[in-house]
Amino acid sequence: MGSKLSIALLALAAFTTSVQAQDKDIIARGEYLARAGDCTACHTAPEGRLFAGGRAMPTPFGTLYTSNITPDPDTGIGKWSADDFYKTMHSGRYPDGGLIYPAMPFASYTKVTRADSDAIFAYLRSIAPVNQKNRPHELRFPYDNRQLILGWRTLFFSEGEFKPNPTKSAEWNRGAYLVEGLGHCGMCHSPINALGGTSQSDAFKGGLIPMQNWYAPSLTSNREAGLGDWSIKDITDLLQTGVSARGVVYGPMAEVVHNSLQYLDDADTKAMAVYLKGIAEGSTPPPASTVLPNTESSLLISLGKTVYDKDCASCHGTQGEGKPPHWPPLANNQSIEMQSAVNPIRMVLNGGYPPGTKGNPMPYGMPPFAGLLSDNEVAAVVSYIRTAWGNRGTPVSAREANELRSAPLN
């Protein structure tokens, strides 16, 4: 009898242990997925507690304040069920059915599976609750009317979990799931129209990020950030460490690598690389030069070479070859050549550091030249690097350089 009881107790203990271990696994999985979704980028304020919200999100329609997603019952999501959480992720609605502003990327998160949503919820339930009331949004009329979201949803929101493409490999489909779903890459890398939406046919075709004035290049065009001509290693290096033989991340993408991508495991990173390389359209022949450089742009480019040789060549090389991965090449660098010159101009003005990551804990920084170069010199050096060494960009004007001096820095 006694031995039977002990066996039963042992079995119960083993069961409890295995349930606890299972819970731990799900929570760990949820933490990993929350990183893949970069929840912290918005839901943690500077110097704020983890996931307590309150971060100001400036938009063209006013300022939104992110919500507290810690398990505090009064001010967070402590009273939510896993069903409630899935509803926000999948349908963009609060538990009471209220509409969520699409600054929350539910148009991407709708693709997340129920199991992954449950794991993220289990993780969020496990973190420290923070009692911090959500701050009301400050939206201008008429955008303060949530009913307008219904119109936005009709135009731009298509609800539904990710459907694998049976003609593609499991790896490609895993990459697609991460890029289109939790990664919500399309939030920036798709053109945003005046209604703050992206049409399906424009997915990943690039666009200027509202309020930030950085250009998020197309992920499908090899003339922008399309990765069709990149090796898988260069892509995974860029995503995991922030630097690669082809270029480094900067601006808003530095945030993405810092908070999210550096934590993804090798298999998921490679899956994303395979998918991203796959969606790039085949190399297109460069368009014929639209305008021959006139006298003005010849002068500009000539001044640009002088500036370049004095201030840039020591790191980026006299032929734009760079010293990769830390000092990126500028020759044959899509980021320099692409149609929008916003990013190269801003890098010259503002400089910048790639993110510090596990794979690159002490990155090298580009000095800001805003205080050292005139508008004319900035335009000149950017025109030079966009047209030298076989690069196929176009010259830029001093006015474009001047306009970006006032671009927001954070």
């Binding site: 810092h258 070859e321 550091y353 804990p361 205080g371 820095l409």
Partner: protein
């Protein structure tokens, strides 16, 4: 805390690896802190000595703890200056510590002070406040915390030598208006709150006239007692 220790350990290992990599190929960026902090040099000078822009401070030789606190404050946005906030936003703590150590360990010569453009009376008022304070208005002397030689004290109190009047005045103003803050108790905000604009002009002008010292190194921690609590310099 554990993560912090682990991260520091990684950094130490990485630094050790750099020392071993003496043979560098010409097509690699040099494995040095000097190369890594080139982004700082247009405003702060190659060795942190400052530049001709009077609003950008000298960094060289300041206590590493002070520099690290400033890097953390710029990274979080607590200390507001968008070009700095932007540059540091995604850099990890151990790297910021390494940057602070780097500039703390540089010792380019202090600049010779330039003659002040304020009157003798104003300079005298500045000297009075800086060296004796004004007890009736609860203003401690600068030297009571920044040291008799104004060289600062390890680990968190900066020296005030080699700074231009425009920079000092701008920082005191930022404290008065609350746009520059530090860990509580925020001693400089308390002090600056008691200063008038005329006080700020006078103190900044007098401090900028202080001659360079042969040894401007900050004194050791605990060399003298602070007159009141300061979050940046815990006892």
């Amino acid at each position: 805390m554990f993560a912090r220790v682990a991260a520091s350990a990684v950094l130490v290992v990485t630094l050790a690896a750099f020392d071993g990599a003496a043979a560098q190929t010409a097509n690699q960026a040099p494995d040095t802190m000097a190369a890594r902090v080139e982004a700082c040099t247009p405003c702060h000078g190659n060795k942190g000595e400052g530049t001709s822009d009077v609003y950008f401070p000298r960094l060289a030789g300041k206590p590493a703890g002070y520099l690290y606190n400033q890097l953390l404050a710029f990274r979080s946005g607590r200390r507001k200056y968008p070009p700095m906030n932007y540059l540091l936003e995604f850099l990890p703590d151990p790297y910021l510590e390494a940057m602070a150590e780097y500039f703390a360990g540089e010792h380019p010569a202090l600049p010779q002070p330039v003659p002040s453009d304020v009157s003798k009376e104003v300079l005298a008022q500045g000297e009075q406040l800086a060296t004796s304070g004004d007890a009736s208005r609860n203003i401690p002397a600068c030297v009571s915390c920044h040291g008799p030689g104004l060289t600062g004290m390890q680990p968190g109190i900066p020296g005030l030598l080699g700074l231009r009047a425009a920079y000092i005045s701008a920082q005191l103003g930022a404290w008065r208006y609350g746009t520059r803050t530090a860990k509580s108790p925020d001693c400089m905000q308390l002090v600056a709150g008691h200063l008038t604009e005329a006080d700020v002009t006078a103190v900044a002008a007098w401090l900028a006239t202080r001659p360079a010292l042969d040894n401007p190194a900050p004194v050791a921690k605990g060399t003298y007692a602070l007159p009141f609590g300061c979050g940046s310099q815990p006892n």
